[in-house]
Every structure is written in C-alpha cells, then in structure tokens.
C-alpha cells in the first residue's frame, strides 16, 4: 500500500532531524524517502536522498536506478532510458531497469510499444506475476480481451489457488459478453467463490453471470435455465447474508441494497413464467 505523502511528512517532521540516530537503517530510509518524494513531486528532496546514497555507494546499480527515476519524474525520458540501458549493459538480469523502460513508454502513452517491450521482458522473466498483471491491464486498455485472458491464464496456471486471478479472468469473460464467455465467467466466478467464500466481488460476479445466462435466449434446455436461476438465487442469498451481517442496519435500509438484489431475482422468475 503506497502512502508516499505520509512517508515524506515523517521525513520532514522527524527523520531528517534524527538522521544520526538511524545507524545503518539510514540508507534504506533514504531509498524509500527518495521514491516517496518522487510520488509527491518533491524532486529536490529525491535528488538530495539520491546524492547522499551515491556518496556512500558510488558503484551501486540500485542507486543508479534512482537517478533514472528522478529523470523520469522530471519528464526527461531520454536521459532516463540512457541510465537504464547502462544498468542493463552492466547486468543483463536486472529486472527493475527493464520494467522502468516499459513504464517510460506507458507514461508517454506509447501503449503498443509498452506492450511489445513487456512481452520481450516476460520471455526472459516469465515468473514475474506483477508483470503479467500489468500486461493484462495494458491489453484491457486496448480492449484486446483475448490477449488479456491469456495473461491471466498464465497466472492461474502458476497460482491455481489464488482467487483473485480466477476472479479477474471471470470479469474479463463477463465483459466479452457472448454466451460462451458468460458461461466461462460463471465457472470462474464459482471457482473464485469456492476459494474465497467471503469475496463480495466474486459473489456479485456469480450472481450477475448466472442471471444473465438465465434470461439470455441461448439455452440448450430449460433445465439449464433453471440451474442458472438456482445459482443466481444461491449467490444472492450469500450476498444478502454478507450485507446483513457486516453492514449496520440503517445503512442496509437506506442504500436499498437488498431490494436491488431482489429486483434482479424477481425479473428472472418473471421471464421464466412467460
């Protein structure tokens, strides 16, 4: 969880004055304050931290990358790229510098180039889950749902017990909207609920995907339709119980959440009757 403002405030108010008491921790603190300062547009503070680190660790690649980030924050992308190229030339396995190159393209709205660079990166570092997720989001920004799904499939294969990946896959399939995708969405939302029964997102996903399948004309049989209504009703029940047990009663009443869920359920049974 990034809270850069608090980090910078802590530095300004206390840590800067008490530098001498930090011992060896000082250097990690400098690094963290440097990055936090960049988030808060305090570029001068970031430079001060980087210079202090540079004097202590003159050959350090870790310090050099901070220099690159400072250039990025100032919008000097060519200088930043030079720094990262130097780092990669020194050390081919440096993941960080390669990812910063992707970040630079993203910052300039060069999405196609960012995607290409990130794909190259993942061929070398295929277990970097954060990178797969970032690539997924880049594809989603281009509405390339097929490739976005591929990225999440990689994540699910390596982490089959992580409900968040099943949920993400389901959300993308739901967005695609065609009956086959909706069916897959329902399956993956179900799996996500199985892995984490408390996930409100997965419960809503299951509720809405089952409801959508129940009212769509694409059934092979009315038994399938009935099953979907049952799944929707089950998910709705879980959601209602979650809301009534966690939310204060006045909030549930005023926001009409139970009514909104009921409305959808009623519409399913109406359409069955007709």
């Amino acid at each position: 969880m990034r809270d850069s403002l608090t980090v910078v405030q802590l530095w300004d108010r206390f840590l800067d004055q008490e530098k001498n008491k930090l011992g060896d921790e000082l250097w990690t603190v400098y690094e963290q304050v440097c990055v936090a300062a960049l988030d808060c547009q305090r570029n001068e503070l970031a430079e001060d931290c980087q210079e202090a680190l540079g004097s202590k660790f003159p050959q350090s690649v870790r310090v050099q990358r901070l220099k690159g980030m400072i250039y990025e924050a100032a919008g000097r992308y060519h200088k930043a790229e030079e720094v990262y190229k130097e780092i990669i030339d020194k050390d081919e396995t440096n993941m960080f510098a390669r990812k910063r190159k992707v970040a630079i393209m993203k910052a300039q709205n060069k999405v196609a180039e960012a995607i290409e660079e990130l794909n190259k990166y993942l061929k070398l570092f295929m277990t970097d889950f954060e990178a797969w997720m970032e690539l997924c989001d880049l594809y989603l920004s281009q509405q390339d749902y097929g490739k976005a799904c591929f990225c999440v499939e990689e994540l699910i294969m390596s982490n089959p017990h992580n409900h968040l990946y099943h949920q993400k896959f389901a959300e993308i399939k739901y967005t695609m909207g065609d009956p086959d995708s909706m069916f897959q969405a329902r399956s993956y939302f179900s799996q996500a609920v199985k892995l984490n029964p408390d996930s409100v997102r997965s419960l809503y996903g299951l509720f809405l995907s089952a409801s959508s399948l129940a009212v769509s004309g694409a059934h092979k049989s009315s038994k399938e339709k009935q099953s979907n209504i049952k799944y929707a009703a089950w998910a709705a029940q879980q959601l209602k119980e979650k809301y009534t047990s966690v939310q204060p009663e006045h909030l549930t009443n005023q926001t009409k959440v139970l009514e909104s869920i009921e409305k959808v359920l009623e519409s399913l049974t109406e359409k069955t009757a007709s």
Partner: protein, 198 residues
C-alpha cells in the same frame, strides 16, 4: 441542451476522489434531481457516487454498482444522469472508449439526457481557479464539449479548502465498499464535512 448545475457536494466529492488516487484512473456517477414532472429543465447534479480506482474497463462490478445506485437513487427522487472520469496519465483528458460506452448507457436510461465530465488532472490543485473538468454533452453520435460554467465561486473556494486538508483520505468509493461492505459509498460523513465548510 438544458442548463447544467453541479452542487458543492457533488463537485467536492468528485475532486477528492481524483485527489485520493493520483496514480490511478478513477471514475464515478453523478446523480441529478428527477425533473421529469417539472417545467424547469435545468439539470441539477446534487450528489456524486465515486465508483472505481482499480480496473475501470470491466463490466461486472460496474453493473453491480449501477444496480445498487439505481435502486438507491430512485428512493431519494434522483436519477443517474452524469459520469466522470479522470485518466491515468497526467495530460490525458480525452474521452476514451470506456467513457463513451458508459456515457451512452446513461443517456439511454435517462431520456437522452446525460453529461460526461472528463477531469483535467492538471487542474486538481488547491490553487485552481477553474472548474476541474470539461463537460461533454451528447450530440447525435458524438460528445461535444460544453463550455458553460456549472459551479459557483463558493464551490471552488470550498473545494480548495478541502483539497488542502486530509479530507480525501476519508472518501469511500465502490472499490473500497466491495472490499469491506460496512463502508458507505454515499460518504455521509464527508457530506457533513463539506456542508460545514459552506
């Protein structure tokens, strides 16, 4: 198109949402008073419901949110008539496909009335003297920029005061709500704080 007014409460919450997540794209809904039975056709946006700061482009959570908000706003005599979005990149204030799709959906459900507010990230500052967004209204199949003012001086003053404080930390959007359903996406406490500033 009719005149557009945005209340202090709606404006401030929209702004605080963008300020709370400077590293993310954010979006949300604006509620207007239901004026179908009145002669005065001014669109008065009275409240704002912040939606997401994680992936904006996926449908299921958007549909879950609209389901809850729609039922809620009917119970208070309002309609979903507006949508705002702040893009991830600082200089990007264009309506992208997500904004167009959601804007169109609101228009279809609201008698062809809808406004899309695209936030200019560079104006999210306590020193800003202009409205923080560009207003887009539908015209045939496109969305045109509408240059009329939608807020008063007092609104900009209150917004500036709130931005300088830590108020944005208290804001709850739908993503926060989905992580913990005890959190109130109506932001009643924040509404009180905004009211105290006027």
């Amino acid at each position: 198109m009719a005149d557009i007014e945005v209340s202090i409460q709606a404006y401030c919450k929209l702004l605080l949402h963008a300020a709370k997540y400077p590293h993310c794209a954010v979006n949300g809904i604006l509620l207007a008073k239901d004026n179908r039975s009145s002669d005065n056709k001014t669109i008065k946006f009275v409240d704002c419901i912040p939606l997401f700061h994680l992936t904006l482009g996926l449908s299921p959570m958007l549909e879950a949110a609209l389901l809850q908000i729609d039922t809620y706003c009917r119970s208070i005599g309002c309609v979903i008539a507006g949508y705002y979005q702040a893009n991830e990149l600082l200089q990007d204030k264009e309506m992208n496909n997500i904004a167009k799709i959601i804007g169109k959906r609101i228009q279809e459900n609201n008698n062809s009335n809808a406004c899309v507010f695209m936030i200019d990230n560079e104006r999210v500052s306590p020193n800003s003297t202009m409205e923080v967004y560009r207003v887009h209204i539908p015209k045939d199949t496109a969305w045109n920029v509408d240059k009329r003012q939608t807020v008063e001086e007092e609104t900009l003053r209150v917004a500036s005061v709130l931005l300088s404080s830590d108020a944005c930390k208290q804001l709850v959007d739908f993503d926060c709500h989905l992580d913990d359903v005890s959190k109130d996406w109506r932001n009643i406490d924040l509404n009180d704080m905004i009211a105290k500033c006027t």
